[in-house]
């Protein structure tokens, strides 16, 4: 067979495979990610409001930081106890898009490579899943900062 015939065959096979491959039930998984994601955000808002009630003098920024730190810690604890992934199997994007998903990705990698030791395992692989988020976040936010500096100058 020449290359064209192979390509043609592969294309047809690909089409056939996507016709017979079962797909995720769209509305159900959408609804699951909606309510699990929404609920996570509500819990975040709840933590924020509680800390605001308890410490009215704290600034908005500090309260926000406390909220995300609390959520992160809880998510990591859930990961350690081994049921974050059970929630995530149902929640899909509802559990990886919130900051809790970031925490889960980091701690699961950290735990997984514990067997290679705390230095070469855990410490090396800690960012193996969340690396893209941290790297892209820093690069593009720096770009945003520089653009603002050029456009609007120093305060």
């Amino acid at each position: 067979m020449n290359n064209n015939a192979v390509e043609e065959r592969n294309k047809r096979y690909g089409k056939y495979v996507s016709a017979v491959t079962p797909t995720t039930s769209f509305w159900k998984s959408l609804w699951n990610s909606f309510w699990i994601g929404g609920l996570t955000c509500c819990i975040g808002q709840g933590i924020f409001d509680l800390f605001k009630l308890a410490f009215p003098s704290l600034s908005q920024d500090i309260l926000g930081n406390i909220t995300s730190m609390t959520l992160i810690t809880v998510a990591i604890l859930f990961t350690g106890l081994g049921f974050y992934d059970v929630i995530a199997r149902r929640g899909g994007a509802g559990s990886f898009l919130p900051i809790t998903g970031f925490a889960n990705a980091m701690s699961s990698a950290s735990m997984e490579f514990k067997t290679e030791g705390l230095i070469f395992g855990t410490s090396v692989k800690l960012f193996s899943v969340v690396g893209p988020v941290v790297v892209n976040g820093i690069v593009w936010s720096t770009v945003a900062g520089l653009i603002h500096l050029i456009l609007f100058g120093r305060v």
Binding site: T23, T24, S29, L30, W31, S33, F34, G37, G38, L39, T40, C41, C42, G44, Q45, F48, G64, I66, T67, S68, M69, I72, I76, T79, G80, L81, G82, D85, G91, G92, A93, G94, F96, L97, P98, I99, T100, G101, F102, M106, S107, M111, E112, K114, T122, P132, V133, N136, G137, I138, W140, S141, T142, A144, G145, L146, H148, L149, R154, V155
Partner: protein, 121 residues
Amino acid sequence: MSILLTYLSVFGFGGLFCSLAQILIIKTKLTPARILVLFLILGIVLEGLGVYKYIFAIAKAGVSIPIIGFGASLARGSIEMARQVGFLGAFAGGLVRTAYGVGAAIVASYLITLIFSPKSK
């Protein structure tokens, strides 16, 4: 009443962003990592354009808890510091502002690693 409304909007917006990401997962071949980066950059862009604070005023935790909030936070730190300190500030600002969360995540992950081990499913 206003509290209920706030939480309803937090739930709605939070769920909306998550289900948008879910649609991307189902309908495209994008991996979770790519989608996270996509939403992160969305947050940086929103903050860079100055739109984020208007969305935050309505959605509150609904937009700050998803990764969009992390991106916006990074961008805001970088922008603020760049304008206060100058050129060098742009590099440090994002990290300084988000250091609380990232620091907590690293320390907590390390601690949890000392205690627990992953289980076979």
